[in-house]
């Protein structure tokens, strides 16, 4: 799966970091980072979909890698 983040839309609310802490984290400046990169294993599907669903600005979409 590929995590697609609309970086212009992202407001760094941190909601995705709660929903999927393995896939999303905020750095020291409060900016969003993807610790495992954009392409992740299918086993993360549930938390990734959860993160996409709770994003306040719907900046996260999931694509087949």
């Amino acid at each position: 799966m590929r995590i697609v983040v609309d970086w212009d839309a992202c407001i760094c609310s941190g909601m995705c970091t709660s929903a999927a802490p393995a896939l999303f984290e905020l750095d020291d400046a409060g900016e969003l980072q993807l610790p495992l990169g954009e392409v992740v294993e299918g086993s993360h599907a549930e938390e990734l979909n959860e993160a996409a669903a709770v994003c306040p600005v719907e900046a996260i979409t999931v694509e087949a890698a």
């Binding site: 760094c12 609310s13 941190g14 909601m15 970091t17 709660s18 802490p21 984290e25 905020l26 750095d27 020291d28 409060g30 669903a53 709770v54 306040p56």
Partner: protein, 407 residues
């Protein structure tokens, strides 16, 4: 014999209602779903109304979440409200004289802005605004363009965001706070002082212990008069004095109404009736407190929670909703974030520096961490939020977050 399935009627087309109907369909609910809208607009996002929309960075139309075609594709019937009655026994909602039968009804009618009393302001006076719905924001945006001095009555989060937006537009801004310190009940004195400090640091004047006696002007607002005799000349007034749960239409329905719709821990308000979002009061097992939560995140989480519960059916034990009350507020370029509750025994700055407006503070109740407040410390705040959600012992939380800051 199977009873006829009347499906789900969601009353209230705000964020909680939107997320509920989306979740129902996404998880495979196939019965009828009706969304009753309380406003003429399709569901829209409120946080930008006090920020980007006022500053003209986003148009009012731009905050609508979904177009009508989306609901048609989803198989969700939109009905223009407002709903006027709920019949608990007959399982029907009355909307514009029409009866909608339901198997499950989710009430998410939100909260309405508290209005200034007529003894303080003539409702016909121009230049006095609320900022709650899209129509308010549109109107205020127009008025800000021609105004030079804004008075904000109520220096809570919404008032502070409006003040910040107006400063960004170059207006002179005065905030009036009824208490000795804004947000002191919400955050405790030290953290409230840190938030209040932002106003002066960004050129807005804050007057505390201010009791507004009258808003005066000939046709259009010209000044605000305080009980101590002071007057503040202005050409625009915004009242941000809180919100009251929109439960008026449920009077006599048999639902328990107090500070909102009283629900059980799983957000059930009555047989087949659920509540979510600003209107719902429930015993929050995470803290052992009953609460009502007027936050964006809570509306999302509760709307989704009820949708899942409806899908799980009546045979499964209902899952309690445990909410961590996360929110953020952007003021003067500073992000303030909070998770948990502030009814605490102790508040400790775990990282950063309050004077620099870059810090993380933790709230302790008993031997647990129950809340966290941050300015410009998003990473640590999100860590703290997880610890709050896990009811982490205080010493552990403090050690982890202090270490992380030191690392």
């Amino acid at each position: 014999m199977t009873a006829p399935r009347d499906g789900v009627v969601v009353v209230g087309g705000g964020l909680a209602g939107l997320r509920a109907v989306e979740t129902l369909r996404r998880l495979g609910h196939e019965d009828r779903v009706v969304l009753v809208q309380g406003e003429p607009e399709l569901p829209y996002d409120r946080p930008p109304l006090s920020k980007e929309v006022l500053r003209g960075e986003r148009s009012a139309g731009d905050v609508v979440f979904r177009d009508a075609a989306f609901f048609a594709d989803l198989g969700v019937e939109l009905v223009e409200g407002p709903a006027t009655a709920l019949d608990l026994v007959g399982r029907r909602v009355t909307v514009a004289g029409r009866e909608l039968a339901y198997e499950h009804c989710l009430v998410c009618t939100g909260a309405d802005a508290r209005r200034l009393p007529a003894s303080v302001v003539d409702p016909a006076l121009d230049g006095v605004c609320l900022v709650r719905d899209l129509a308010d924001a549109r109107r205020l945006r127009g008025l800000l363009a021609d105004a030079s001095h804004l008075v904000v009555i109520g220096a809570g989060f919404i008032g502070a965001e409006v003040a910040s937006s107006a400063r960004a537009l170059g207006l002179e801004v005065t905030l009036l706070e009824a208490l000795g310190m804004p947000l002191v009940r919400a955050l405790g004195p030290e953290m409230a002082a840190a938030c209040a400090g932002l106003h002066a640091e960004h050129g807005a004047r804050l007057i505390c212990d201010a009791r507004v006696e009258a808003i005066e002007g000939a046709g259009r607002v010209e000044r605000v008069r305080l009980a101590d005799g002071r007057t503040i000349d202005c050409d625009l007034v915004v009242a941000g004095i809180g919100a009251v749960p929109a439960t008026g239409w449920l009077a006599g329905s048999g639902l328990t109404l107090a500070d909102g719709i009283v629900c059980d821990e799983a957000l059930r308000a009555g047989p087949g009736v659920w509540a979510a979002g600003d209107v719902a009061w429930w015993p929050n097992g995470l803290f052992g407190d009953g609460m009502r939560c007027e936050q964006w995140t809570n509306a999302v989480e509760q709307g989704r929670h009820v949708a899942r519960a409806i899908l799980a059916g009546e045979h499964d034990a209902p899952v309690p909703f445990r909410g961590s009350n996360y929110f953020w507020s952007d003021q003067y370029g500073v992000r303030i974030q909070f998770a948990g509750i502030t009814h605490a025994d102790e508040v400790v700055v775990a990282a950063g520096d309050v004077e620099q407006r870059a810090f993380l503070a933790l709230y302790r109740r008993g031997d647990r961490v129950v809340g966290a407040l941050a300015m410009r410390r998003a990473k640590q705040l999100m860590r703290a939020k997880l610890l709050v959600e896990r009811s982490t012992p205080w010493d552990e939380a403090l050690a982890e977050l202090s270490e992380e800051a030191a690392a």
